[in-house]
Symmetry: C2
Subunit: 83 residues, 2 copies
C-alpha cells in the first residue's frame, strides 16, 4: 500500500475569493498582520501498489483532482507499513 | 514576513463524503487501486512578523481555520525572503 499526499494550489495571479474571505474574517478577529490568504486542497489517497503509482497519481491530478488551467499540484508518495 | 502553511484534515472516523465522491469518480475512470480518499484543506498565510507568529497561527486554527471538533491541523512556518 502506498499513500499519496496531494497538494493543490491556485496558480499565482488567479483570484482566490475564498482566501480573501478568510483574510477578511481573520482581520475582523484582530489578526491585522495577515496580509494574504490562499486556500488550496490537500488530499490523501490510499493506493494499492501495483507499480507505477507515481505515474498514476500524476495522471489522476491532470484528469480529475486538479484543474491544470488554474491550479498547480504537487505530491509526495509514502509507503504504508502494515504490521 | 513569514509564511504559514496550514494543513487541515478530518479526524479519523469522521465521514468524508467529498472523499468518497472523489474515490468513486477515480474508480469510474479506471483507478480501481485507489482504496480511500480523504479530502482536506491547505492554506497559505502571509503574515507580518511582529513576533509570536506561531502562537497566532495556532490561535487562528482553533478559532477560525479549522473546526477542532472534527478536524486536525498541522502547520509549518517559514521565513519569506524579500530581495
Amino acid at each position: 500500500m502506498k499513500k499519496a499526499l496531494v497538494y493543490i494550489t491556485l496558480k499565482e495571479g488567479v483570484l482566490d475569493p475564498q482566501g480573501k474571505t478568510v483574510q477578511h474574517s481573520l482581520d475582523t478577529l484582530g489578526y491585522a498582520g495577515v496580509k494574504e490568504v490562499r486556500v488550496g486542497k490537500y488530499l490523501e489517497l490510499l493506493i494499492e501498489d501495483e507499480g507505477a503509482v507515481e505515474a498514476q497519481v500524476e495522471e489522476m491530478c491532470e484528469k480529475l483532482l486538479a484543474n491544470p488551467v488554474i491550479e498547480n499540484y504537487t505530491y509526495t508518495i509514502e509507503e504504508v507499513v502494515t504490521l
